[in-house]
Structure formats: C-alpha cells, structure tokens
C-alpha cells in the first residue's frame, strides 16, 4: 500500500512543483473563470460597462425644448449612479461653439473608428416635430414631420458594443417618449400593460453567468489535467527511463497505475477546491456541487479524461508526440462541447464531433444535475457515452500502452 501512496504523492508533488503544469492546471482555469465572469457576467449591467457616445443638439431653443430634455437625460446617465461604478455612458457633447458640420464629421469618424459606440444627432426642428406629434395624439405622422426632424443615431453595425449601445439608447428614448406622452396627458401610465418575466426550467429562476460557467471551467480543468497530465506523466517518465527504474523494484504496473490514479484524483480535488473557492468567494457563485449526482458526475469526468489520457499515451511513441496529439485534440474537443457557448447552430459534420465528444455529455449532465441548465441529452446518454469512452480507451490502452522504452 505504501508504494501506491508514494507514487500518488510523487505524481501530485511533481505536478505542483512544475511551474508550467501549475499554470495550465491551476492558474489558467482560474484566469479563464475570472476573465469570462468579469466580462460576460455583467453584460449590459449599469455600473459594469460604459459606452462612449456623443451627442449633438441642433435644436437648441428654449430650456423647455424637448431636445433639451433628451440632452439632459443622457447627461444624467453619464454621471455615475454609485461611487466607484462606471456611468452607463461616457458622453461627449458639443459645447455649441463648434461648427456643427465639422463636429458631425469628426464624431462620425470616431464612430467608424470605434472611438465612440454611437453618435446621437438631435436635428433642428425636433421640438416642433414632437409638438406636432403630441398635437395629433402621437397617432399619426404629420405631413411636415418628415425624416428631416427624426433623431439620428449613427453607429457601426459590426461593432458589438455599438449595437448594444444603440439598443440601450433606444430604451432610454422609449422611456422619454412615454414620459412626454404621459405629461401631455395622452398616455395613461396606469393603463400600462404589465411586463412579466418567467424562467423556464428546473430552477425557474435566472441563473448567474458564474454559476453557468463554473461547472464548465471545472470540467475544462479535469479535461486538461487528463489530456496533458496523464500522457505527460507516463510518456516523459518512460522516455527518460524513470519507469524502467520502477520495474527493477518489486513495484508492478497495476500498483503504479493505482498510485498514478490516486495522485491524479488528488490533483483534481486540489484543482476543484481552488476553482470552487475562487468561484464562490471571489465571484459570488451560488451553485452547489455537494449532491451525490454532481459528485458522481465529476468522478465520471475525471475517470473519462484519465482514460483519454491513457489512450493518447498508448498511441504515442514519444512524449513529444503525445503532447502534440493532446494539443491537437484539446481545442476542438473543448470548443465543440458546449462548455463555453451554445452549440445549437452547428452544421452536421461539426455536430458529429459534438455527439462523439464525451465532454459534451459530461458538461450537459453536470450542469443539469446541479440545476444551472436544462439537459440537452437524455440522462442515460450523459452516463453511457463517457462510460463507452472509458471502455474503448481502456481496451486500447491495455493492448497498446508500453510501460518501458523500446530497446
């Protein structure tokens, strides 16, 4: 028993001492978790994202002009709502002294070049046009309210943040719109149609992005650990003759295998503990893995990826070849599994990879079991496909894997 524990300890310590292993197995998953949570966890949330916009009011009349109301509303939104938070908009506004044509030219160029996400132009005659609209009940366009007095939003369609800024600007304008109609007595806010939001699925509540992401990153960590860690451990030890030294002792292959498995499992536990702690305490994840199905799924994932690691080791003649195969498999398997984004729109040939990829089933099964996603595959498949991988990989590895350098 002691020799098994020694091999396990050796595997764990080797992994923790190697800076590069430490990076890929520990730091990189944490980096990815933090970076994706920071970026996508707050999309569109006020205080977390700021859009650089510009506004030109060509309808400067009285202070009660509707154009002034629009201008002031955006100016207000450009003030931080809370200390330390970013305002929704970083507003560039024409002071009134510049030549409007030159300002329009400069700001249009700024939108084109991505320095501004949108440029709002309030045209001359805007207030008059709004008044006319109110007078007619906002029901029909008057003959004089042609396109000339429409508020213009210049944006860049290919720029995602520009498109997002425009959708927020439209919401702001819709709010002003209703306010104007309500103040003019046309719109009865009390008769507004209520908007309700429901969440379909097991939890019936909106999941946070961190909760969705965390199981994916945990699986990614296990996946990389199995894909690179196992072939790295076996093949480098074999190439450097380390394994040969084991075989001149009473130590046997099954006992070495048991030690390696135990060490690998310990490494995965450390990895999970770090990721879970960062997710829970630094990023506010609330998802719980402390259920029997979740723990069993994670164990199934660890064993599946270990088997894949053994499969790679058995098919590679040298350590470098093993690492190359692992590198080639890594990205396609990871991206074609639904770990990071939905894979519904893929064509047949890429979908085929999704369907044979064990990671797809494990991700789906784990997320469904901890209640952050509705299952896409049947529960039986989420277990059977990884088990099939384990079986096939074990058969091939036991047949082909060489535990000693060829002499």
């Amino acid at each position: 028993m002691n020799d098994i524990l020694l091999v396990a300890r050796n595997h764990l310590l080797m992994a923790l001492r190697e800076r590069i292993t430490l990076f890929w197995f520990m730091i990189f998953p944490v980096f990815l978790l933090v970076i994706l949570a920071v970026i996508f966890g707050h999309i569109g949330q006020e205080g977390e994202i700021s859009f650089g916009i510009s506004l030109l009011n060509l309808d400067r009349g009285s202070s009660n002009a509707f154009s002034t109301i629009v201008e002031e509303t955006f100016a207000e939104l450009a003030q931080p709502q809370e200390q330390g938070k970013e305002p929704l908009f970083a507003l560039m506004s024409s002071g009134g002294g510049e030549d409007p044509d030159a300002y329009i030219e400069a700001e249009t160029l700024a939108v084109k070049r991505g320095r501004r996400t949108a440029f709002i132009i309030i045209p001359e005659g805007f207030t008059r046009q709004v008044m006319e609209q109110i007078a007619t009940g906002g029901a029909q366009e008057t003959a004089t309210s042609g396109g000339a007095s429409a508020l213009q939003i210049l944006y860049s369609e290919g720029n995602t943040s520009s498109a997002m800024a425009v959708s927020i600007i439209e919401q702001v304008l819709a709010g002003i719109d209703q306010e104007i109609l309500a103040r003019s007595g046309r719109f009865d806010a009390a008769r507004s149609i209520p908007l309700m939001t429901t969440w379909v699925g097991s939890d019936a509540a909106e999941g946070s992005y961190v909760d969705f992401l965390l199981p994916g990153i945990v699986l990614m960590g296990f996946f990389m650990n199995g894909l690179f860690g196992i072939p790295g451990s076996i093949l480098f030890s074999r190439d450097q003759g380390v394994l040969r030294r084991y075989w001149v002792t009473p130590h046997t292959v099954p006992r070495f295998f048991a030690g390696l498995t135990l060490g690998h499992l310990a490494l995965c536990v450390v990895q999970f503990a770090i990721l879970y702690s960062v997710g829970r305490f630094a990023l506010g994840a609330s998802v719980s893995f402390a259920t029997a199905p979740a723990i069993l799924f994670m164990l199934l994932a660890i064993v599946t990826f270990m088997a894949v690691g053994f499969l790679i080791s058995s098919l590679s003649k040298t350590a470098n070849a093993g690492m190359a195969v692992a590198n080639i498999l890594n990205m396609p398997m990871m991206f074609l599994s639904g770990l990071f984004f939905p894979i519904a729109g893929l064509p047949g040939f890429l979908r085929a990879i999704v369907y044979i990829n064990p990671l797809s089933y494990l991700a789906d099964g784990l997320r469904a079991n901890i209640g952050v996603e509705s299952a896409q595959f049947s529960p039986l498949l989420t277990v059977l496909i990884p088990i099939a991988w384990i079986a096939v990989a074990t058969v091939i590895a036991s047949w082909r894997l060489k535990w000693d350098v060829s002499t």
Binding site: K112, T117, G147, Q178, I193, V200
Partner: protein, 355 residues
Amino acid sequence: MRAFRSLLISETRIFARDVVALFFTFLFPLIFILIFGFILGDVDRPIARLGLFEVSLEEDAALRDVLSSSGLDLVSRYASADELASGILDREVDFGLTWDGASLAFSYDPSRVQENYAFQQIARGITDALNLRAQGLSSVIRVEKEHVGTEASTRWFNKMVPGIIAFSILSSGLFAISGHLTGMKQRRTLDRLLVTPMPPVALLAAIAAVRLVIVYISTLITLLLSSVVFDLSYSIDWVAYTLLVACATIGMMGLGTVIALVVRRPSSAGNVANVIAMVMMFLSGIYFPIEFMPRFLRAVSLALPLRHLADGMRYATGVSDMSQLRFWLIVGAFLAAGIILFPVLARYAVRPQRT
C-alpha cells in the same frame, strides 16, 4: 548565399515534416473559423426566434403589428404554455411570449446567460411599442439609425476573422524561433551548424523566410475559407495587408527570440510561448469586444501587441477603420521589434550549447 539556400531548403523540409507546426499554422485557424463561423457568422440566421402563445384563440392584430416591426425575423406560434416551455428548452425558439390580452409574460431559458440580455432588450421594445399601440398612440420621438461603419463590417464575425489571423501570426512567430531554436540546441544540431562557415544570421534569415511565406499563405487560406463558406466580404488593401503580415511575423519572431534566450528546453519554450499567446488571446479583443472588459483590463490590453495587430489586420482587410498614422505606426513597431531583436538573437541565442 549557398549556405542560405541550403538552409532555406532544409528549413522548408523540417516545417513540412512537422505535423504539429503544420496543424497549428494551417488547420488551427481554419477550425476556429469553422466553429465560430457556424455559431456567429450565419447571415440568414434571425436576430432572435420568438415563440408566441396567445391565450385567446383569436390573433391580436395590434400584437401582430408590433411583432412584425420589432426586428424579429421569426415568430413561431404555440398552442399551449407547456408546448412553448418545451420549445424554449429544446431551443426551437430563443425566448417565449405568453399574451392573455392583458399582460405580456416573457419566458427565457435561464441557462442562456450570455444571450438573455439581448432577448430582454427586445422584450422591452415589444412592451413599449404595444403600450403605445394599446392606447392608440405612436411614438412621438422618431428615430433613424444609420450604419456608418466600414461597409464590410456588419457582423462581429467579420471582425473576428482578422483577429484569428492575427492570433495565428502571433503564435507562428512566437513558436518559430522559441521552439525551433531551442529544439536545435537540444538535439545539438545547432552546435554542428555553428562549426560550419555558416553565419548565424543566415540560419535566422532562413527560418524567417520560410515562416514568412508559410504564414502569408496560411492567412490567405483563412481569408479565402471565411469568404467562400460564410460569404464574408473584405475590402483588402493588399500593400498594407502584405506589409503588416510580414512585419508582424518578424516582430513576433523577435518576441520569440526573447523566449529562446530565457528558456533552454524546447518543451518549456513552447509552453512559455503558449502561455503568452493564450493570455494575450483573451485580453486582445479577438473573441469578444474589448469594450466588454472592465476599465483596468482595457488598459492592460493597450499594452499587448496582439491587440494592435488585430486592429491593424481589421483595418488592412477593410472591416474596420483607423487612422493611417496609427496603422503605419503599428507596422513600424513590429518591424522595429524584429529588426532590433534579431541581431540580439544572432549574437546570443545562436551559439553553442554550454556543456
């Protein structure tokens, strides 16, 4: 010159035999283009698919009009709330609307955390429009939207492709020197070459020349595939494009020299290059817009060469705009990095292995 020619031939052979290098140079960007292209690049894909369940059997004309002008390309009707819920979970539709004549209930799949924000924006738009419509009103503020960006750039995927090409240049350049030279050192082939009359700079020039041609061809294949498969259009300034690819490859090889100087083992050199490439990839706006990042990460991204290379590549392929001055500064900076670092490499990196 003869030494250079011989080295050129041998470097080409070495590259052609290196399956991993071939994979990462040619196939890797193509795989990314295919994966992301089918997810993000489908022109005909609707903005969002709405599932509608109307409690009343009669179709509401006001709602129909509002939905038809909401920008949604596809509205599927469901006969019951349960069917609508199944449709959402099975991803037949992106989100659902139940209309009982008095309230609008929008339903979402909670697992679509990345997309729900956009669906909720559409839902608010529908509600605002229906609110006015229900009281016989229409909007008093008329809005006209005008796309002023570069003609070719109408989707994020258009911008992503030059970004992927930029990443491929970065990784090819970094690995070319760091992995290759350290590998030669480890196998002692460098020691053998150095006892010949071959000047060290000839070796570097041969590696650089082979990589330049290969990277250039690889970028063209990537552009071609994205154009053919996903019908993306580019307005390429070939002079700017060619100079940027050449200077960036040399510049990135210059950065690879630093790794080759610091790290001795080829596997470690490859790993270090991999780490640098990965970190840069996530912070340089290749896969998601830089504007989505918090302010401090946006500041960090300004210091990363990959961000500027991606911006330059987008400009050279006509998918986004920048000032000519900035573009040529980027090209010049990469060229300078290559020119300055290469002689350093020749002197310190290409020398016999200490025993």
